[in-house]
Amino acid sequence: MEINVLEKDRLRIRLHIKDIPLHILNSIRRAAIAEVPTMAVDSVVITSNTSVLYDEYLAHRLAMVPLTSEEALEKYNPPEVCREAGERGLFTEDCFVKLELEGVGEPGKITTLYSGDLKTSDPDVRPVYDRIPIAVLTGTVTHIPGRGEVVNRQEIRLEAYARLGRGKEHAKWSPVSVAAHKYIADIFIDQGKCVGEECRACVEACPKGVLAFEDGRVRVVEDKIFDCSLCRECELACPVNAIRVRWRDNEYILTIESTGVLSPKRILIEASKIIDKKLEVFLEELRRLGVVE
């Protein structure tokens, strides 16, 4: 196997992988989406909410906030254990991180509560972004005859409990916003059939600019082959059927884009570990049944 890193930064990684069967790569991709655990809010205890936003709306917004999970994977109990604890209302410290949110509005003013206002019980598990608006608050002044001015301040007071979970249970726990693999094209041009530079139909048809004329011959532009989406517009455009788009066997581009909860590197490592563990369990079962030694 041969891997080239095409792109790598805080949120994205793009790998060119040779000699890998599709089903192996697809297992890694699917494990990244649905199996790698991350932290997300799963229960919210609302002590006070006199804002215009419903409790469910607040809980949903809180759940969508990405929380840093790099350290949490070692520190907290696995999703399956914590799910049960949560369902029984046991917000234990080995499973849950408490995030508190408080705010009061003022008449004539608009107060926004941000993800950065969440006070976490574990500094390792905190919102990835501090500027996500969670709720807005204000206040009203009502004139009541005989009582004068009554000031009403909208208020939110809540405790949110985050735990480890997996993307297959709810998408809020998925560490990736993109996990995709793509074929690499192999374009065959029959130079004997090609009419030559006066045609240019294939060059103009390609939406990705993969083809170009060089010294009077159609060629695939250097490195542009990775951009080919295998749309086969060039095949359709060619009047003499001189062009054929195929794909390279066992060669793919894997793209992972993280939501920020884990680094792309960590997502790949964890995904591979999970597949490894699943196969180990499978083998163990076969050994138990005596199918293999």
């Binding site: 993800s115 500027r131 996500i132 608006p133 884009e257």
Partner: protein, 65 residues
């Protein structure tokens, strides 16, 4: 309120809204601002372009429950 994540791909976008709307209201081209903020996919871009922030109007009405 502006969604925390893109409905389609799940990428976090909520933290970009305030900067986006500030710059667009100041007269910048929405497409350019989104390019600047690194919002590439059209699923995420339509979240910004099609959003109407009505929460500031709802804010002054009493809640019915």
């Amino acid at each position: 309120m502006f969604p925390v994540r893109c409905f389609t791909c799940g990428a976090p976008i909520g933290h970009l809204w305030e900067e986006y709307i500030k710059r667009v209201r100041a007269g910048e081209d929405p497409g350019k601002v989104l390019d600047d903020l690194g919002v590439k996919r059209y699923c995420c871009r339509r979240m910004f372009l099609s959003h109407a922030d009505i929460v500031y109007e709802i804010l002054n009405f009493p809640k019915v429950s």
